[in-house]
Amino acid sequence: MPFGKLANLLSFLFLLMSFLLIVRNSLSGQVRMFAIQSGILAALAGVVALFGGRLELFGVAAVFAIIKVAVIPSVLNRTVAKIGMQRAVAPYLGTSSTLAVCAVLVIIAFTAMAPITGSDPLPTADGIPLAFAGVLIGLFTTVNRRRALTQILGFLMLENSIFMIALLATYGVPLIVEIGVFLDVLVAVLILEVFVYRIKQNFDSIDVKQLGVLRG
């Protein structure tokens, strides 16, 4: 199974997962989708390490798997449990129009990434547009979704896609930077947890729309 084909398959699966994450409405379902997506990404990291001859990537893949598949989803689930039942808060765009927008975003991703895929010597180049589509979809989720937790998931999806692009384009960035990024993402999520909980206490619902007092 040549290296390039495997990487493209995994990237495609990654994009599929992000689409699924958008469709799900229940918080726990979304967290589970995110865990699976991170798992796929960890596998991709392993594949790149194996074929690309980058041994230290195995370590990175392992750390990535621990943080993104185990630690963060458990933290998210703990918060979901603490928040308890939630009134369903419809996002700004319905599911069908969201998917239409995501399609457009994929096309934009392909046009934007044209120069990169054109000049990239590495076999994994074809996956980059897919990864970049993940970035745009992650960003769009934070815009579209009204619940704080889903916004955090959107942000995490964005981080994952960027890590994926790094993997596909340059077989990963130097180690020190990787660790720094993971550390920052972890701390960011922890702080966001605290805030979601604090919002729940003050506004008894995590709909971010109530946070609209500061104007002008």
Binding site: P115, P121, I165, G180, D184, V187, I191, L211, V213
Partner: protein
């Protein structure tokens, strides 16, 4: 050696404060840490200026541009740190010791992350450090833990993290462009500059787009500035002074670093054009908000967006004068804005409201705070005796020299609108007769002294430019790749 020491002091201080038992010990450690950082910082600047070369230690590296930033960071944090002690003592009574301790600890951590951002040579570590600054200040913005504090902090975190993620995107693409040329190349800025002329221009342009949006968010450029007014008006005064005065400059520092690379590979036209457009947009947008503003802390926050716009215009005009004007304007803005936020803290302590209508006859009730506030506003708005007038004059002269007269004309007319708006607010606050039961006392009187130092420096920058400083700035400009 010296760089490690510079970073070591705030980190250790933050840890020590976290474990200290009473607030007076925490304050003591805090003040001494600030002074030590200032001394270390000035020593780095002195070394870089004397030896004309940079100091390097595997990951850390300080050339004249980072020495310039270190000087700003350490000086402003020392000034704000001293004032912070007075502010915390009056703001929090003894019962809220844990909150005061958290304040001091995060304050030192904040300084550590900023210093790390400017002293590291590795662009990835720089990104991590800048993301670190956001994380360090989130809880400081929400120190008072009320509804609006929570809202501001949440928005600040989400917007900054998303923005910074895009910046990392840009860094990855820049790294990709570099790897395509020379396979075994680290993510360090010096190596990037060395290979810059061989990079593929289209990829560098794409990377710079992400960098501009990402670090533009941290610097407060227009469409991405929306977190800034909320965060700076809700944070306690010393913190918003530090954020507005220095953190925005760190964002601009990252932009300057990447602009240097983009100018060599993709030609100066691309980066300058977009910087000018974003700069003018932030100037226009902030002018609209400053015309009739009701809250004086938000007024100062929007004026930060305005000044970032002016600095972006300066960088956009480029050439020797444009960049020199931008650097000088960074210093002027840092000094005047931090001074004004400190004073807004005192005003808040005395009048207990951030509404401009609520504050009247400041010159009568708190004479020294009032007079300093007057000097601050005049410095901020760019009136002659103070430095901002000179730097704006240089920037717009460069605008004319670079034949982008349209930008200069619109810029200057927007500055007049801003002047009208801020003067109206200042007039209603300083003059008039205060509401009846008023006493003539300056809150937080002693720690107000460092503000005088700010005024003196602003006047010095306004009236003269000693040769030593001009030479040092010439060195900085050479690093950025601009020569007379």
């Amino acid at each position: 050696m010296i760089l490690v020491l510079l970073l070591f002091v705030p980190a250790v201080a933050s840890a020590l404060i976290a474990r200290s038992r009473n607030s007076s010990r925490a304050a003591l450690i805090h003040v001494w840490a600030n002074i030590a950082t200032l001394i270390a910082g000035l020593d780095v600047v002195q070394r870089v200026y004397v030896t004309k070369t940079e100091i390097a230690w595997n990951l850390l590296r300080a050339d004249s541009l980072s020495a310039f930033m270190i000087a700003i960071i350490t000086f402003i944090s020392a000034i704000t740190g001293i004032y912070a002690v007075g502010y915390v003592n009056t703001e929090f009574d003894s019962s809220q010791f844990r909150r005061a301790r958290l304040f001091y600890a995060l304050f030192q951590l904040f300084i550590f992350t900023m210093l790390l951002a400017v002293t590291t040579d590795n662009l990835g570590v720089m990104w991590v450090a800048i993301e670190g600054t956001t994380l360090a200040t989130v809880f400081l913005v929400n120190l008072h833990d009320n509804h609006t504090g929570l809202e501001a902090a949440y928005k600040y975190l989400i917007l900054s993290s998303v923005g910074i993620a895009l910046a990392f995107m840009g860094t990855v693409f820049m790294y990709y462009a570099a790897v395509a040329q020379a396979s075994e190349i680290g993510l360090s800025w010096t190596s990037l500059i060395a290979v810059a002329n061989r990079l593929d221009p289209t990829i560098v342009r794409l990377a710079f787009v992400f960098i501009l949006i990402g670090y533009g968010t941290k610097a407060g450029l227009a469409p991405m500035h929306t977190w800034l007014p909320d965060a700076h008006s809700e944070a306690p005064a010393p913190i918003s002074a530090l954020m507005s005065g220095v953190l925005l400059n760190v964002g601009l520092y990252a932009l300057i670093r990447f602009k240097a690379v983009a100018d060599i590979s993709a030609g100066p036209a691309f980066a300058s054009a977009w910087l000018m457009r974003f700069g003018l947009l932030s100037l226009g947008l902030s002018a609209a908000f400053l015309v009739s503003q009701r809250n004086y802390k938000r007024m100062l926050a929007y004026s930060s967006v305005e000044h970032t716009g002016i600095i972006a215009l300066g960088l956009g005009f480029g050439g020797y004068w444009g960049t020199l004007g931008a650097l000088l304007h960074m210093v002027n803005h840092a000094l005047s804005k931090s001074m004004l936020f400190i004073l807004s803290g005192s005003i808040l302590l005395k009048y207990r409201t951030t509404e401009i209508r609520g504050v009247r006859g400041l010159l009568k009730t708190a004479p020294w705070t009032g007079r300093a506030f007057l000097c601050g506003i005049f410095a901020l708005v760019g009136l002659p005796p103070f430095g901002a007038f000179i730097s704006e004059f240089i920037i717009f002269r460069a605008g004319f020299a670079m034949h982008s007269t349209a930008y200069s004309v619109i810029g200057i007319s927007l500055l007049v609108v801003v002047f009208a708006g801020m003067l109206a607010s200042m007039n209603s606050m300083l003059y008039g007769s205060p509401a009846e039961p008023w006493d003539r006392s300056d809150p937080v009187r002693l720690p107000l002294a460092p503000v005088a130092l700010n005024v003196v420096l602003l006047l010095a920058l306004g009236l003269t430019l000693p040769d030593g400083v001009q030479e040092f700035l010439g060195g900085v400009l050479r690093i950025v790749g601009v020569s007379l």
